[in-house]
């Protein structure tokens, strides 16, 4: 099957899922969430005002008409304005993606490199004291709440030692990267390293038990070549899958980090929207992230072929 046929089929297969996500979001916010007119009109409101808001939002229409309006909103990228700030929802989303990615892309790169490096090293000395100690510290590290890492990290490196600014953000990407982002990046990598390391170690160990590793050793290859060329290349497939799963989360970022460090990213925006009952912003974020997730899954499937020539499109 050619690449274009494969892509077309996968996109068609994704349509029912996308419809499901829209239905889920619609049920949550248009049905369970209650009448938005009461949220918008506030506590003191007269019936005429509520009726006019209802008409403006279209919630006086039957549910199927409302759902059709929602589908049109998704397709045209037009969710109207935020209920609390009256900014265009599309403007909000586009302006929040940048800061999130400024933090999360370095996190992803650093975390993957470090986790893969440590995983290969630890797997190579499997069963040894070092291996057991590293695994044990990973379990303990994973048990400490993310909150504790951020609170202590921000206090220690920002407040007490003064190595980094406690919080803040600027308009220049360079200033952000060298001045404001390093501490959030460092803390996120610290938290996410342990689970990744454990997982990648098990991937590498799985590969090391295969016959081809013994063959490679038997024909006199150096340990270096065995681990890096043979084992790592094969372990790359499950690692890639795992990265694909983690990638959509990149865009919401680590919302806790964004809240603590006042980074105007998508994650903080979602948390604030939830607190303000700003439904249009949450609805838009949810639907577009679902679409993004599907696209990334598709991309990962295409990349499998690049990593592993045995994989064919079917």
């Amino acid at each position: 099957m050619s690449l274009s046929q494969f892509l077309l089929r996968r996109i068609l297969q994704a349509l029912p899922t996308l419809l499901g996500v829209m239905l889920l979001v619609f049920v949550l916010f248009n049905w369970v969430g209650g009448d938005p007119a009461y949220i918008l009109a506030g506590k003191i409101s007269d019936p005429a005002r509520i009726a006019s808001i209802r008409q403006q939002l279209g919630v006086d229409q039957p549910y199927w008409v409302q759902f059709w309006i929602f589908i049109k909103q998704v397709c045209t990228f037009n969710f109207g304005r935020s209920w609390s700030t009256s900014e265009l929802v599309s403007d909000i989303l586009l302006s929040r993606v940048g800061p999130t990615l400024t933090v999360m892309i370095p996190v992803l790169i650093l975390e993957t490199l470090l986790a893969v490096l440590f995983a290969v090293l630890v797997a190579y000395v499997r069963g040894s004291l070092t291996d057991r100690m590293v695994m044990m510290s990973c379990t303990v590290a994973m048990s400490i709440s993310f909150l504790v890492y951020i609170i202590v990290g921000q206090w220690l490196f920002g407040f007490k030692l003064g190595w980094f600014p406690v919080q803040g953000w600027s308009d220049s990407v360079i200033t952000n990267l060298v001045h404001y982002a390093p501490l959030p990046i460092f803390l996120t990598v610290l938290v996410e390293l342990a689970p990744s390391l454990r997982l990648y170690r098990s991937f590498v160990l799985d590969e090391m038990n295969h016959d081809y590793v013994r063959t490679a050793r038997a024909k006199g290859l150096s340990e270096h070549a065995v681990m890096l060329k043979h084992v790592l290349r094969n372990a790359a497939i499950p690692i890639l899958t795992n990265l694909g799963i983690a990638l959509p989360g990149l865009f919401v970022g680590s919302f806790l980090i964004e809240v603590f460090f006042s980074i105007p990213g998508l994650g903080r925006e979602v948390v604030e929207s939830v607190n303000r009952s700003d439904f249009p912003v949450i609805k838009a974020t949810t639907v577009y992230l679902a679409i993004l997730t599907m696209l990334i899954n598709l991309l990962v499937d295409v990349m499998y072929r690049w990593v592993d020539p045995r994989v064919t499109f079917k």
Binding site: P16, T17, L18, G20, V21, L23, L24, V25, L28, F29, V32, G33, G34, T139, V140, M142, S143, I144, S145, F146, L147, V148, I151, V152, Q154, W155, F159, P248, G249, V252, F255, L256, V259, F260, V270, V271, S273, V274, N275, S277, F279, I282, T285, T286, L289, A290, T293, M294
Partner: protein, 348 residues
């Protein structure tokens, strides 16, 4: 071999649970973890029954009393006046002729005499110190553990129940039921988990039951997937066919015959979910989306610690963060050990 004990052993070979328990008992780390987990559970149940930490909300010490082991004999620090002290206060100035409140002072003093003021008995030493309002941090942490652990356990039970039931249906019947449930699974997993939780939290009001529902209703997908795969494998096995031949109904085959054979998967998933949900509750409560304000959980305690740390008051952070870390480490290690002990493929 006429030894009756040996014969007895042969007749009643140990079941997989007994074998698993036997292996688990030899694992020292697992047994330590089990003891810690049980200790936390007992403390939680005592707190729930009102035996301990009932009065966590009482003012028992001075604000921010540091943790101490021994009685502080020099109690002057508590009595020292708060605020800026001038070196020379100067002579008192009489402003009674321009003070518009002067006629009332007499009356107010009369009135205050009639009001009984109860000065709370303040403890001189607390093992874990006190918080901003003089609450005992130990009692507060215990009460917080009650909320955090019970949210974790109940939500995990709910998730396991939903995941197992739907996974069994999808794997056993297949066909359109499977297609429908797979669609639901795809829909729920096409969103980052935390975004799904926040979206659901946005439309429900805050509350203890709500947070359990949110975690339970969104967290069943992992176990659903595993149970479905197990049922797909088991449905066509000989023992299930035999049960069918004997006239066992669908429900009987699903839950009386297959379920015991996949129960080890459920147990491991359950304890994994407890850990995940305890962590999630802490974060949600911190963000103000979790337990209501009149309740205390590890998350609400940690929410107070950010400003405390700047003031140099570290003990609440250590108490709440530490007890959570100990419990979660114990459950995680126990889960790892259980997975190895109960896996039929690893039996010797």
């Amino acid at each position: 071999m006429n030894n009756p004990i040996t014969l007895n052993k042969l007749r009643h070979s140990a079941g997989p649970w007994k074998l698993g328990w036997r292996r688990l008992r030899q694992d020292r780390v697992a047994m330590c973890s089990l003891v810690v987990t049980m200790a936390f559970t007992i403390i939680m149940l005592c707190s729930y029954a009102g035996l301990i930490a009932r009065n966590w909300n009482a003012e028992v010490a001075n604000s921010y009393s540091p943790p101490t082991l021994h009685v502080v004999t020099n109690a002057t620090s508590a009595k020292a006046p708060v605020g800026i002290q001038r070196d020379d206060p100067g002579p008192p100035v009489d402003i009674s002729d321009i003070d518009p409140l002067t006629p009332y002072y007499q009356e107010w003093q009369e009135r205050t005499k009639n009001i009984a003021v109860v000065q709370a008995e303040h403890a001189t030493h607390l093992l874990f110190g006190a918080d901003k309002w003089g609450h005992d941090v130990l009692a507060k942490t215990i009460k917080g553990s009650e909320v955090s652990i019970s949210v974790g356990i109940v939500a995990a039970l709910l998730a396991v129940l939903i995941g197992t039931a739907l996974g069994a249906l999808a794997g056993y019947f297949g066909g359109w039921i499977d297609t429908l449930l797979e669609w639901l699974y795809n829909v729920l997993t096409s969103l980052p988990y935390i975004l799904l939780i926040l979206a659901v939290a946005a439309v429900f009001s805050r509350g203890f039951t709500t947070i359990i529902m949110i975690l339970g209703l969104t967290g069943w997908t992992g176990i659903y997937r595993l149970i479905r795969a197990e049922y797909l494998k088991h449905t066509d096995r000989a023992y299930v066919r035999a049960a069918q031949a004997l006239g066992a109904s669908h429900a009987s085959r699903m839950f009386r015959h297959i379920l015991p054979n996949v129960s080890h998967v459920i147990l491991v998933q359950f304890s994994q979910n407890v850990v995940g949900f305890i962590k999630a509750e802490v974060i949600l409560s911190f963000l103000g989306l979790g337990v209501p304000v009149d309740m205390v959980s590890w998350g609400t305690i940690l929410a107070e610690t950010q400003e405390e740390l700047v003031l140099g008051k570290w003990w609440q952070l250590v108490a709440a963060g530490g007890s959570m870390a100990i419990l979660v480490t114990a459950i995680s290690m126990l889960t790892d050990a259980m997975r190895d002990a109960l896996d039929p493929k690893l039996q010797e």
